[in-house]
């Protein structure tokens, strides 16, 4: 399989120097900590983890909307961090992002047509006529009507606004799109619409997606592979079906076991693993394995030494001293 993107040892730390931290001087948030993975052409990698674990930061660093603290991102063998601003701008056209909040990412004063046309007006020399034709084509592509072009964002529902966002994102034929929780606020029936739409677009246009979410069950249906993130690090990465069938990391195992079952009887009967404790702060992440403070099968080794993130089976990566040896029951 052909690689589109290679992320090598990316870290992003934030210095906290605000007045709230009066004690103990500057502190550092390790939002993303030494993350590596590859993204194959025409595939979707799902990135899951709870609020604050660093998913959006990782997305922004990949697109160099934020500079990484260390590490490299290669896009089709080009080292993005070495690009000059002018060259980067050309690459940006190929790499797009759909943001989590569909409300604030659409300018309320612009019509839908203007919003979708904007990237074409800025980045291309297309004529008015060509731009209009492409705008209608994009509206059709995402399941809206050309007549919607003259309407304004507030006239659309959350699901429709996400479609508008996606249409704008696709205007310049990107080869790589990051979707940052595009469906989290929508109900399941609309979530399913958007997921199906993205899958169709991928097949039709050959786009590579990084799909960020905190909901494992929906992510499965859009991703070829899934990466599970916890406190700035990737804990496990594997093919979607494999990850569900044979999760190796205790965190993944508990995530899967905690997915609510949509049946009152079964839900009352079953014994989910209720993990004890809280997600620690990324300001002072625990020593050793970052998950050890909540891990039901951790021991002294886990609290003192950090496990390597390595390929356990072909294509199945995990960071755990006891991967496949100990299981959470």
């Amino acid at each position: 399989m052909e690689k589109l993107l290679r992320v090598e040892n990316i870290s992003k730390y934030f210095d906290l120097k605000s007045g709230l931290f009066k004690f103990g001087g500057a502190q550092v948030v390790r939002a993303v900590d030494n993350v590596s993975f590859e993204l194959y052409k025409n595939q979707t990698l799902g990135l899951v983890g709870e609020s604050g674990c660093g998913k959006s930061t990782l997305g922004r660093v990949i697109l160099r909307l934020q500079e990484p603290t260390s590490g490299t991102v290669y896009f089709e063998d080009t080292n993005l961090s070495l690009l000059k601003p002018e060259e980067l701008r050309r690459f940006r056209i190929k790499m797009q992002i759909v943001f989590q909040d569909s409300y604030s990412s659409l300018n309320p004063r612009h019509s839908i047509g203007e919003i979708i046309a904007e990237p074409m007006t800025i980045h291309t020399r297309m004529t008015q006529h060509e731009i209009r034709a492409r705008t209608y084509e994009l509206l059709n592509l995402v399941g809206l009507k050309p007549s919607h072009a003259s309407r304004f964002p507030h006239e659309f529902s959350g699901g429709q606004r996400q479609r508008i966002n996606i249409a704008r994102t696709l205007a310049l034929y990107p080869s790589f799109v990051i979707c940052d929780e595009p469906i989290s606020a929508l109900d399941v029936s609309i979530q399913a619409q958007v997921v199906n739409l993205l899958r169709d677009l991928q097949k039709e246009l050959g786009i590579t997606f990084l799909f960020i979410a905190h909901d494992l069950s929906m992510v499965k249906y859009i991703s070829d592979r899934i990466a599970v993130m916890y406190l700035g690090k990737i804990m496990e990465l594997a093919g979607s079906d494999l990850l569900f069938a044979n999760p190796l990391h205790p965190y993944t195992q508990s995530l899967i076991s905690a997915i609510p079952i949509p049946s009152p009887q079964e839900e009352r009967m079953r014994k989910a693993v209720v993990l004890e404790g809280e997600v620690p702060s990324p300001v002072n992440p625990p020593a050793g394995c970052v998950f050890h403070t909540r891990c039901p099968v951790a021991d002294d080794l886990c609290s003192s030494s950090e496990p390597d993130y390595s390929e356990h089976n072909p294509g199945h990566f995990v960071a755990c001293h006891y991967a496949a040896v100990r299981r959470v029951e």
């Binding site: 709230l20 606020a185 905190h214 508990s254 995530l255 905690a258 404790g277």
Partner: protein, 333 residues
């Protein structure tokens, strides 16, 4: 027995520069003492506005009609007709609410403990020492380790899950009759969500609090609720006991929602089932069934009138003209 809260024909309209937004349309439901009612519906379906209307927490240019009889032991009043001052004294005392975004609802420059203490002193005439002691107890009750130390932590030092626990601690500090939880777990991962659900269930049993739990996750509802209200386009389209709702959904929208839940057992190559079409436009005053545009069973009557509530099984009320089970239109009782 009289319900603790009885909401009838609640409608809420916002008047904005672009025209009126019909956010809540003719919502009626009961809440019994000690039970959990889940309110499910997509983004924009009016879940939050329904609750904010009851608590008088909406901006000025808002029109709220209907009634909401709150009848705890000892007295009875209509939440929609009492004075602002009376509502303010009920809120945080008899009725508590926790919001989706705990960080924004907590005061960033006060320690978590101080915020609980303050609530105890203003609402319950605790003295300083008593309030401090009780605050530490409450933190312990919601499962925060080392509560005596964490008392002095600021909200930003807490994780998302801990902040929600702190919010719950503040919300239950007065042992309210009703706790309204507005999507408190939406931003959290499923392991923390499971903890919060477990915690709420335990507190509810111990303290006998009635809970209204707002969410768009039907999975969470299954494990948590006694009864469920499904909202669509500002209307409560179905209310049913939780088992009935899942086994025999009465409204086509409920059935569609249940059908769209991805199965954990399925293969990633499967295509998800969705309900085609888009949610309704709330700028028009509804004159017919709001779901008609998207409904597979729609027929002429659905475009002419608003469906009333039909009781189709004990405790199951459905606003739909179509009788799904017999494949025929429903007749008026």
């Amino acid at each position: 027995m009289k319900p603790l809260l009885s909401v009838r024909n609640l409608s809420t309209r916002f008047d904005t520069f672009d025209g009126s937004v019909y956010a809540v349309n003719d919502v009626s439901f009961d809440l019994k003492a000690g039970e959990t009612l889940a309110v499910v519906g997509e983004s924009g379906s009016g879940k939050s506005v329904t609750m904010l209307s009851l608590l008088g927490l909406l901006p000025r240019s808002t029109w709220v009609t209907g009634s909401a009889i709150f009848a705890p032991e000892g007295f009875e009043l209509d939440l929609l007709s009492v004075s602002k001052a009376e509502l303010n004294s009920l809120r945080g005392n008899k009725i508590s609410i926790i919001f989706q975004d705990a960080l924004r609802s907590l005061n960033p420059v006060m320690t978590v403990g101080e915020q609980i203490t303050e609530s105890l002193i203003t609402h319950h005439q605790y003295n300083k020492n008593g309030a401090h002691k009780r605050a530490v107890e409450l933190l312990e009750m919601v499962g925060i380790a080392q509560p005596d130390k964490r008392y002095y932590a600021y909200p930003h030092m807490f994780s998302g899950g801990m902040r929600q626990r702190a919010m719950i601690a503040i919300a239950i500090s007065c042992t309210p009759d009703i706790l309204i939880a507005d999507e408190p777990t939406t931003a959290l991962d499923v392991t923390i969500q499971a903890q919060i659900v477990e915690l709420t269930r335990r507190l509810q049993q111990d303290l006998g609090i009635a809970v209204i739990w707002i969410t768009h996750d039907l999975g969470v509802v299954a494990g948590l609720a006694d009864r469920v209200m499904v909202m669509y386009g500002g209307t409560g389209v179905e209310i049913a006991p939780v088992d009935l709702l899942y086994e025999n959904p009465g409204h086509p929208y409920t059935a569609g929602l249940l059908g769209a839940i991805p199965s954990i057992a399925g293969s990633s190559a499967d295509r998800l089932v969705s309900i085609e079409g888009a949610p309704p436009d709330l700028f028009q005053e509804p004159r017919h069934c709001q779901f008609a545009w998207r409904c597979r069973y729609v027929f002429d009557r659905c475009w002419k009138e608003k469906p009333p509530g039909y009781i189709i099984s004990p405790g199951q009320v459905v606003k739909c003209f179509y009788d799904g089970r017999e494949k025929t239109p429903r007749v008026e009782e």
